[in-house]
Amino acid sequence: MDLSYGPEYEAFRRQIRAFIDEHGHKQPREYARTPEAAQWQRLLTSNGIVARTVPKAYGGHGAAPDILESRIIAEELAQAKVLPMVNTQGVGMLVPTLLEFGTEAQKQRWIEPTLNGEIIWCQGYSEPGAGSDLASLRTHAHVDGDEFVINGQKIWTSSAHFADMMFCLVRTEPDAPKKHDGISYLLIPMDTPGIEVRPLKQMTLQSGFNEVFFTDVRIPTDQIVAGRGQGWRVANTTLGYERAGLGNAALSLARLQSLTELMQLETLDGETLMCNPVYRDRVLAIQGRVLAMRANELRILSDDLNHDDDTNLARLIIKLQGTELRHDLEGLAVDVLGELGTLYENSPLLRDHGDFQRHYMFYLGLIIGGGTSQIQKNIIGERGLGLPREPKVGQGSSS
């Protein structure tokens, strides 16, 4: 075992640190359509902090893929509590998808303005009747001349209320024998007539996501990625990018540090919260879980580099464990704060900008979103442990 990254990477780490020292204060507090957010995104993409390996021809940084460099960037940002607050759906999901599946014309047209923050994307996957069972989605399109005509509804669509474009899963082959083979991946301008966006307020009181309605929405047939019926394959690749981003032990460590600092500052009856043995034991138990996930991440990182371990299960559990852990961590902060843990928004006496309260609720959302914890357990059981799928209704024997 050798956990050092080597001298050339330590130089790279210093370079990233210097960037964060100089520019870290410019990060917006939350992601929205503002000049500051677009400027921040340009700063990150042009310096190769995000979208580092996108070729120069498409406006990217053009770096060779390097697992340790990506890792160092993630570690340093988390440590400095600087969030790569950018249009994740566009930069993190659509761009890699186009690089893998898009035509040359699509790459030329969409990637650079996406990196620059000129085009903001949203993801149209979930529907009221297709959540965990996404492949049964019913938003459909038929071809009329050189246009797709789209009808249906999407839900939980983050950023749709200010996005320019949506990448969207739509049923175009209703007669395909398998439901997965009837889906296409379409790129839809949000200002197309027939699109209506209704914001859904979240329990955090922020309007992060929306319902989107399509009524005879017409887009050119060349705005499809990878051909008709290929959407499920394309989307699974994109979902892989999303889930990989959800378990970040460096971020959990940084949040844990905020919590332990708070517990050493905040006092009750003249003693710090850390002096309370019950609170102290609870935060130590969380620390143990964070350290386990950090080790798990190191193991996966090493396997990515050396290809000498079986880390299938170690990867499958990250979404489940990572989101549950963050929810518990933020929830512990709310608990130890007592009445102060109930304060919100701009209240007097608010601690740490209300981050703990907001994250406590937000991470409950992430436990549900991106494949619920229950779906994750099915995946772990079936793909990790080899247990059989539940028989479909009508196939199993009655009980």
């Binding site: 075992m1 050493q264 350290l291 080790a295 190191l298 464990q321 442990l385 539940e390 009980s399």
Partner: protein, 361 residues
């Protein structure tokens, strides 16, 4: 950067697993548990033949000179097999304590005897994890007096390594006069524990031992016990998955029901990061002195928690069979349960972790 195991470490692991399949199948475990001979000579000879006693003994003293990570891999295999083999005290804690606390002459005499399997040292340091009896007093004139509780691995041992209340460490022959050994009966019948009383017993004192050396010895023991729990819990999970794939109810295997599948997934989700955590803690123990103690406390506490959850859940997946002696699953359940309490409960180990970070006076 390489986090995973080396070729040699994988070989060590598979060699040991095969050896234990041959020499410590469930029947052998049952025999040991029922007879009380939890250090059967046949298994000990097989382990000695591959050099395990000298695992942590340096080369120049006739040992293998391996790392704490290697020790953890062996502990994991022993836990997986619930092997009736004294390990944590004689082959992990004792060599660590002697390397750190003994005089060069003592090390010269004792370490080769550990490595060749003739000196097998049980360890009594529980008073430094948490004091119950007031501990052992020691004076150069009258020797050791008092009670040592929860001495680890006394059956089959030739010697005791005993801490006194002032941070001293002493070696005493197990059959020395005025040493009285009473075996304790725990729920775990695969290993042994003793209450040993001393009445003015002459002892060989380790001149360089102190409270720090004792703590370091406890950290080593904690990592080995955590690794034992990892192996035992992994065995319980594997058995649960196998059972869920075989047992049928309502016309289908129970592993196809989400209620059962999710229990298995929850065990796997909690346990899989533990493997990396044990490797990391063991490696850090040898290589990063400022972080090793913290991780050893955390790995002991965390594996205690996860082990308890897996032990309970795996038993439940097996339904009524899980509760029977016939299946023998209870040997794993009990081993994990005793591991959780030994050398510091999760709460105790976490309090040590808090102290190491300056979070408690």
């Amino acid at each position: 950067m390489r986090f995973g195991l080396s070729e040699e470490q994988r070989l060590l692991q598979s060699t040991l697993t095969r050896l234990l399949e041959e020499h410590a199948p469930l029947d052998a475990v049952r025999n040991a548990a029922q007879s009380g001979d939890v250090a059967p000579a046949a298994l000990r000879d097989a382990l000695t033949e591959v050099g395990l006693p000298g695992l942590l003994v340096p080369h120049n003293h006739g040992g293998l000179g391996l790392s704490m990570l290697d020790a953890a891999l062996i502990a994991e295999a022993l836990g997986q097999a619930v092997a009736p083999a004294p390990f944590v005290a004689p082959w992990v804690m004792a060599p660590v304590a002697i390397r750190l606390g003994a005089s060069p002459e003592q090390a010269h005499d004792w370490l080769p005897a550990i490595a060749d399997g003739t000196m097998r040292i049980a360890c009594g340091v529980s008073e430094h994890v948490g004091s119950r009896s007031g501990g052992i007093s020691h004076s150069p004139s009258s020797g050791l007096s008092g009670e040592a509780l929860f001495v680890l691995d006394p059956v089959g041992s030739t010697d005791y390594l005993i801490s006194d209340r002032d941070g001293g460490l002493h070696r005493v022959a197990a059959d020395a006069p005025n040493v009285d050994t009473t075996l304790l009966t725990t729920v775990d019948r695969t290993r042994s524990y003793a209450l040993v009383t001393f009445d003015d017993v002459a002892a060989e004192t380790l001149p360089n031992a102190n409270a720090d050396v004792i703590r370091e010895t406890i950290h080593a023991g904690r990592i080995a016990i955590a690794a034992d729990t990892l192996g035992a819990a992994q065995a319980m999970l594997d058995k649960s998955v196998a059972y869920a794939l075989e047992r049928e109810q309502f016309g289908r295997v129970i592993g196809s029901f989400q209620a059962v599948k999710h229990l298995c997934a929850e065990m796997a989700a909690a346990l899989e990061p533990c493997r990396a955590m044990v490797w990391h803690a063991a490696h850090t123990y040898d290589t990063v002195p400022e972080e090793g103690p913290l991780l050893s406390c955390h790995v002991k506490a965390h594996l205690g928690e996860v082990g308890k959850m897996v032990a309970r859940t795996a038993t439940e997946v097996h339904g009524g069979m899980g509760f029977t002696d016939l299946l023998g699953l209870h040997y794993w359940f009990k081993r994990i349960g005793v591991n959780r309490q030994t050398l510091g409960t999760p709460e105790r180990a976490r309090e040590d972790a808090a102290r190491l970070q300056g979070w408690v006076a």
